[in-house]
């Protein structure tokens, strides 16, 4: 097991190197020029050229890539072209809201979606099943920003229960933290809940047909015991896999959600950096997201051993 973890951690190095090369190259060939954005609309072409030179953007591809990679290997993600602040500082300023949003969304989604899927499978073909599946279709179909605006309209503007925008750090108290995050987490969680609920239902339906479930019933086990102890545990591996894959959905959805609710997170930082072509920030954030995704996949692989003792590394 330990050797497996070490091997997987080592495997992340070439993966991250490829990501670094890919991100840098993609940005290099993509249109856009931070010097032109900095210089402003009133600048002359000569001003733009001088700014480009001062930023080192006129240097050849290999020189720029080599300099950046060398700095990354030394733990330096560079400095934002626009703010002149270290990228690590900017990421540190923004990571808490994004992690909070994703964590709350994840918890809400699992707490809601797994029971929904289990109940839908148990009551297959009934009104409850159709309602759950109907909700799942809705969750998949309605874009995050539409759900966000609707929630803000009802719960912030009309009922005045929750704020429209912003983020309060957890260090300022749990309630203010929750107050700002509940609506964004529900908006972001919609598609995630739909995905997990559907997979849970499908897997549970398959498991509930197994002989050992019939045996459990024959032995007089209670319904909840059958569903949650016998069936759900055996259905857990695909569900956990989907939860892991869904983290990528969360990262993508967080960008939109943070914009709608004005949450100062990494998603918003990424969009702003892309619009301005702030290359060091884009590279830093994408590297971070890639690393998180690789790490989540590793944790999921390890989680399999908890649910299925037959899996050994």
């Amino acid at each position: 097991m330990f050797a497996y973890v070490i091997r997987r951690v080592l495997q992340t190095i070439p993966v991250m190197a490829l990501v670094a090369l890919f991100v840098f190259s993609l940005l290099y060939i993509s249109p856009g020029d931070p010097a032109a954005v900095i210089a402003g609309d009133q600048a002359t072409p000569q001003d733009v050229e001088r700014i480009r030179a001062s930023l080192g953007l006129d240097r050849p591809y290999l020189v720029r890539f080599g300099t950046w990679l060398w700095a990354i290997l030394h733990g330096d993600m560079g400095t934002s072209i626009f703010t002149n602040l270290p990228v690590t500082t900017m990421i540190a300023q923004r990571i808490e809201p994004t992690l909070s949003l994703m964590a709350l969304t994840l918890v809400l989604a699992i707490l809601i979606a797994v029971p929904m899927g289990v109940v839908a499978a148990w009551k297959q073909g009934t009104l409850i099943d159709r309602a759950v599946m109907g909700f799942a279709v809705l969750g998949f179909s309605v874009p995050v920003f539409v759900v966000g605006y609707l929630l803000a309209y009802v719960f912030a503007l009309e009922l005045d229960w929750l704020p429209v925008q912003g983020y309060t750090s957890l260090s300022n108290g749990v309630l203010p933290w929750l107050e700002n995050l509940v609506l964004p987490a529900i908006a972001l969680g919609g598609v995630y809940i739909a995905l997990i609920a559907r997979i849970t239902r499908a897997t549970m339906l398959e498991v509930l047909q197994q002989d050992y479930i019939r045996t459990a019933r024959a032995k007089g086990a209670g319904q909840s015991s059958i569903l949650f102890l016998h069936a759900l545990k055996n259905a857990a591996v695909p569900i956990v896999t989907v939860i892991g894959i869904g983290i990528a959905l969360l990262i993508g959805g967080a960008v939109v959600t943070e914009s709608v609710f004005a949450i100062p997170g990494l998603g918003r930082l990424t969009v702003d950096a892309i619009l301005r072509r702030d290359y060091p920030v884009i590279q830093g954030v994408v590297l971070l997201f890639s690393f998180v995704y690789v790490l989540v996949n590793l944790l999921i692989d390890l989680a399999y051993t908890l649910f299925d003792p037959r899996i050994r590394y």
């Binding site: 609309d41 072409p45 925008q165 072509r277």
Partner: protein, 524 residues
């Protein structure tokens, strides 16, 4: 008590940290700025948001009042020698920077030198400046090669203001960005609370020494009446509108025109014009490439445009929300005139089609680049796209983001190689009020603004304007410039719209000025 407050009560006792019990202070103004404050250096970037930040942090030697006259600000006054070849400025006593250091003449000299390297206006005058030197702690002198009546206007302008910073900062190269924001203005920048893209905060500078005159545009007493000014970046306009309606924010600098009716319906909000001048639409041709290298084809498009369509697309049908302005100088400015502007009042598609045919249009492709993430400029672009199609031109509309557009507009290549034919932008009325910094009126070929028009007559007239001894002569030259511009059409003026701001009724003291500033503003 708001319902949200009621909900919080039983839970907050146990869960909220003590810091949150404090309600927003009366002296705290929460502002949604027009953009994200990414740079603190007003010399390094011309971004309006950085300029607004700079107005809080820095002070100016002289400043522009509501009538456009340049008045002393940090300066107690100035003396011009009889031969007009030397100007001596004297600073007011007791001026201090936020770090406690006194403001000295050498700080002003260093700041002027750094700013002069970037400001297009001062760059025109600089060859005639022999030297700028500090005479003592409170006096500095310009020595000139020839009289420069525009010197004061350059120093006090709002377009690219000359802000005074400590010499140690002003010694930085003009193309290197400053990370510190230490000035002598009415508010201190709180660097430790700055989170670019989300939040920027300023606190009242207790050591600020305002002038005694009442506030007048950007001149007069810049007395800070707020304890703190907090900017929160809300990129989504609908969310910003909701935050204003619910009272989560106090002031929104640039509300989207579409949302003005919603804001006006709220009894808690005031929606008014604060900026003194409008925002002008510009349609820029690429003069290097077909088909708009042909003046006849540029003229054909000019015959078709109707500024009212452009302004409605940007600012809707709101009464007083926009105006037409068929000249190259900002309307209501001293040089505004309509000499030769009949072409822009024709508004005839039929005549445009005929003119297009007569100009020899050979169905060359027209690439119009539109920024989808910039609502106002995108709207201008789409109106032109529609017009070109109705004229029968071979149009390719490229919808992209602003970041891509600003790079693509630097390309001088044919459209087949990534070039462009038409772009749009906006400009403040200030920037179009004088030939000396009117970028779109420059016609010096390679050195001109993107599009690179070349016309010796326009350049000759511009030089004549700079040399004109009085306003009467300046106006005469300005008419000739307008007439010539309407013949060769370096660009098409598209009218202007007013950009109102919205604020909570608890906010008092908001006054009209050429820029968004927060001195004199209070919150009850």
């Amino acid at each position: 008590m708001r319902r949200r407050g009621l909900l919080q009560t039983p839970f907050a006792l146990g869960l909220a940290a003590p810091a949150l019990a404090a309600t927003p202070g009366a002296g705290r103004l929460r502002v949604v700025p027009q953009a994200n404050l990414t740079s603190l250096d007003p010399v390094w970037t011309t971004a309006v948001v950085t300029r607004n930040h700079a107005f809080m942090v820095y002070d100016q030697i002289c400043a522009q009042d509501a009538q456009g006259t340049i008045r002393p600000q940090m300066a107690e006054g100035w003396v011009v020698e009889a031969d007009s070849l030397a100007w001596t400025f004297t600073l007011r006593e007791g001026l201090r920077f936020h770090d406690g250091e006194p403001v000295r003449a050498r700080d002003c000299v260093a700041s002027i030198r750094r700013w002069a390297r970037r400001d297009p206006f001062m760059q025109v005058l600089w060859p005639d400046v022999a030297e700028v030197t500090a005479l003592d702690d409170r006096r500095f002198r310009f020595r000139l090669h020839k009289p420069l009546p525009l010197l004061l206007m350059a120093l006090g302008q709002t377009q690219f203001p000359c802000f005074v910073m400590p010499e140690r900062l002003a010694a930085t190269d003009a193309f290197q960005q400053l990370r510190d924001a230490v000035g002598s203005g009415p508010f201190r920048f709180l660097a430790d609370e700055w989170n670019p893209g989300q939040r920027a905060v300023w606190a009242r500078f207790d050591g600020y020494l305002p002038r005694q005159e009442p506030v007048d545009g950007l001149a007069g007493g810049r007395a800070p009446r707020l304890d703190r000014v907090e900017w929160t970046v809300i990129s989504d306009p609908a969310t910003a509108a909701n935050a204003m309606v619910t009272g989560e924010q106090d002031y929104w600098e640039y509300p989207l025109h579409d949302l003005l009716p919603l804001l006006r319906r709220s009894r808690e909000l005031v929606v008014e014009q604060r900026l003194l001048d409008g925002t002008y639409g510009i349609c820029r041709f690429n003069h290097l490439q077909p088909p708009f290298d042909n003046p006849g084809i540029r003229r054909a498009l000019a015959l078709a445009i109707d500024q009212r369509d452009y302004m409605r697309a940007v600012a809707g049908n709101e009464p007083g929300g926009w105006e037409t302005c068929e000249g190259v100088f900002a309307c209501n400015s001293p040089l505004a005139n309509g000499a030769g502007s009949e072409v822009l009042k024709t508004r005839s598609l039929d005549r445009a089609r005929t003119a297009l045919r007569e100009a020899g249009y050979a169905n060359e492709k027209v690439v119009l680049v539109a920024p989808g993430d910039y609502p106002q400029i995108n709207a201008l672009s789409l109106v032109t796209a529609d017009l070109l199609q109705r004229m029968g031109m071979n149009l390719e509309l490229v919808s992209t983001d602003w970041g891509t557009l600003v790079q693509r507009r630097t390309s001088r290549e044919p459209v087949e190689k990534g070039g462009w034919s038409l772009i749009h932008t906006t400009a403040s009325g200030q920037s179009l009020s004088l030939p000396v910094f009117h970028l779109f009126l420059r016609a010096n070929g390679d050195a001109a603004w993107f599009g690179w028009p070349r016309d010796a007559e326009i350049e000759r007239l511009r030089a004549a304007w700079i040399a004109a001894p009085d306003l009467a002569m300046q106006r005469q030259v300005a008419e000739a410039l307008n007439r010539r511009a309407m013949e060769v059409l370096p660009y098409l003026p598209l009218g202007f719209y007013w950009q109102p701001s919205a604020w909570n009724r608890k906010v008092t003291g908001a006054f009209r000025a050429p820029a968004t500033v927060f001195w004199g503003v209070a919150k009850d």
